[in-house]
């Protein structure tokens, strides 16, 4: 057990220094920015690139930005992007090959990612990153792309001080307080007199950075204020879902009527899988140039909602949309546990907000639990 590291105060006006230190250390700083009417992850040149004074309103199928009545830097919840866009890029070249003599030679694609510093990673997102670590690096084969990008990536996390209507991290035990896996964690505090952060290092790398910042010691009142922020987020948690025995319940409900209702509702657009920070499925495409001397293999995000996903000779294994939604939900909440020892859902609510027809995972789970069709006794 490492002893807890000391907490400090960092003034809002000194936040830019943090970004500068990271840049000096060779990090590419990325984080929330306001673009196209949403909060999206992108390069942060300076503090002013953050969505200062903005917040979001989320509901099933809707997302809207709104001005806040303060100048909070992190006063919103998660948007449609997740950090997987950096760690598991939506399209990657895996290798290329060139004809040589009678055979061919493989040219391994050396992914040369920048050294990322992720700014503003939420508790649920940190859990999602750790879940994808298990998928891509926890088994027999390490994915070189994910492993390479993850190795040097620095995580500056932020405790949520508010929750969206679509959030349910408390139900998934993934938030709103950041608990591990960060290099630095911040809690943003705005009261009448002051705007500052409570800052804590979570790693040696993080501690080395905090040491360079113009921080001051925390008072008990600062710690109380930080705790109050997290409590506020807990109170605001827009959704709740009882996950007790969810794996067993779902496993005995493969034939629940609810799946047929989803067949009528779900558009199989796959938005939920693209927005989800843990979804990891992919497509692979082999291509060649016209002269057929050069070939490439590309990997891109895939979705279990497409027909193609489960295609085998003779047709798709899951021709009905209901069976595809079932596959998705079962995977998230039940079979993920068998595969990786953790749930595949962190309760971020993205799939709820970004579903064009407002299908709500928490509602679906409740409907199935309340109307079990399998014999609950086994």
């Amino acid at each position: 057990m490492t002893p807890p590291r000391p907490l400090y105060r960092l003034d809002r006006n000194d936040f830019g220094i943090l970004l500068n230190i990271l840049k000096e250390k060779g990090y590419l700083t990325v984080g929330p920015t306001r673009r196209d009417g949403a909060i999206l992850y992108g390069a942060l040149e300076s503090v002013d690139d953050l969505p200062i004074g903005w917040t979001d309103e989320q509901e099933a199928g809707t997302y809207r930005l709104k001005c806040r009545d303060d100048d909070a830097l992190f006063g919103y919840n998660v948007g449609p992007h997740s950090w997987k866009k950096y760690l598991f890029p939506s399209k990657t070249k895996l290798w290329s090959a060139t004809k040589k003599g009678s055979g061919f030679e493989i040219d391994r694609e050396t992914d040369t990612p920048p050294k990322y510093a992720f700014i503003g990673v939420r508790a649920c997102e940190l859990h999602a990153i750790q879940i994808q670590d298990k998928v891509f690096m926890g088994g027999t084969y390490q994915d070189p792309v994910h492993a390479g990008r993850r190795r040097d990536c620095l995580i500056i996390a932020v405790n949520c001080a508010q929750a969206a209507n679509t959030c349910f991290c408390t139900s998934m035990q993934t938030g709103p307080k950041v608990d591990n896996g960060y290099d630095i964690v911040l809690t943003e505090i705005i009261d009448k007199a002051r705007h500052y952060f409570v800052i804590e290092a979570g790693s040696d790398r993080g501690a080395a950075i905090v040491k360079k910042l113009p921080v001051s010691p925390v008072q008990q009142t600062d710690m109380d204020a930080a705790a109050a922020c997290v409590e506020n987020a807990e109170k605001q948690m827009g959704r709740k879902v009882d996950m007790t025995d969810i794996k067993d319940i779902l496993t005995r409900n493969y034939d629940n009527k609810r799946w047929a209702e989803l067949e009528k509702k779900c558009l199989a657009c796959g938005n939920c899988t693209m927005a989800c920070p843990t979804c990891f499925c992919s497509n692979v495409e082999d291509i060649t140039d016209l002269g057929a001397e050069h070939a490439e293999r590309w990997r891109s995000w895939g979705s279990c909602f497409t027909m193609d996903f489960s295609y085998i000779h003779g047709g798709s294994v899951r021709p009905s949309i209901g069976s595809r939604y079932r596959q998705w939900l079962m995977h998230k909440l039940a079979t993920w546990l068998d595969q990786f020892g953790t749930s595949g859902c962190v309760g971020c609510g993205r799939c709820i907000t970004w579903c064009p027809v407002g299908i709500d995972l928490t509602e679906e789970v409740k409907a199935i639990c309340d109307n079990e069709e399998g014999d609950p006794s086994g």
Binding site: F104, Y141, P144, Y254, D286, A292, R299, G302, H313
Partner: protein, 280 residues
């Protein structure tokens, strides 16, 4: 270090030279491939490789050759779509890419001391042929060997000469059936399950290995359970879409299982709950 090298060999296709290719039955070809440059290979019966056609695509194909053969690898491919058609039209001297071997293979160790019932439907005999080679060359480790093999029509029967030679062995019985046939077929017509009843199977001391269409494996498994075989003694080989064979692409999921790494062979009691459900 050696582990890392091993891993990379499984991630990137290696060049293999086509030594021979011949048509087994209409649209189905057997290829023998040699690593280029030459290295030795080894696989367990039931394992598969990802076969790559330059710039065109990659598909999972089970080894159909003899596991004692370490200089070449043999595959039997049915041309059903774009990549398998290309694979079936390669010529001796061409190059294909290979990654593997992948998957767990058949339970040959667990079956030691038991009778073995091999049940194949259609092309399902290809991934089971290495099992038969192994059983024959280690006959003293096993009891009675029975092969029940069904195809749609008599002209779809694979490996006919070998079937005949296996049937001549004292320690092995070969039973064939077809779904339909003309008047020149003197054998059994019907589904494979019909042959189980009279095959003299001792359900308590037999391990079954079945490969074929899912529906055939389902009827087979329940047929065997009906005569008293334990679901845990019945093994089936599953087929799912596969893009990586590394456990990363998610395409081969079958309930909690990744067919590429947890399978393709499963004990029936592991998957029985899934077999009951449609579209899993």
């Amino acid at each position: 270090m050696s582990q890392a090298v091993h891993n990379e060999y499984l991630m990137y296709p290696a060049s293999f030279l086509v030594l021979e290719i011949w048509e087994e039955i209409s649209g189905c070809f057997t290829l023998t491939l040699q690593p280029d440059p030459v290295v030795t290979t080894s696989f367990a019966p039931g394992q598969f490789y990802m076969l790559y056609i330059f710039g065109h695509g990659e598909v999972p194909i089970s080894v159909s050759g003899d596991p004692v053969e370490t200089e070449t690898l043999t595959f039997t491919v049915l041309a059903v779509g774009s990549v398998t058609r290309k694979l079936c039209s390669v010529k001796a001297g061409d190059t294909v890419g290979l990654r593997g071997p992948f998957g767990n293979g058949w339970p040959l160790k667990l079956a030691k001391g038991h009778d073995v019932l091999v049940i194949a439907g259609g092309l399902g005999l290809a991934p089971l042929r290495p099992v038969i080679y192994h059983l024959i060359s280690h006959a003293s480790d096993y009891g009675k060997i029975t092969l029940i093999y069904g195809t749609r029509t008599p002209d779809m029967i694979l490996f006919q000469d070998e079937l005949a030679s296996w049937d001549e062995r004292d320690d092995m019985t070969v039973l064939l059936t077809v779904d339909s046939a003309g008047s020149d077929w003197y054998g059994h017509v019907g589904v494979v399950t019909e042959l189980i009843e009279n095959a003299g199977i001792d359900p308590v001391r037999t391990t079954t290995m079945a490969c074929g269409p899912e529906i055939m494996m389902r009827f087979t498994a329940y047929g065997l359970i009906d005569i008293g075989m334990a679901a845990s003694d019945i093994y089936v080989s599953m087929e799912r879409n596969m893009k990586c064979a590394l456990g990363h692409c998610g395409r081969c999921q079958y309930g909690p299982h990744f067919v590429c790494k947890d399978g393709p062979v499963f004990a029936f009691d592991q998957v029985e709950n899934l077999f009951r459900v449609r579209e899993v």
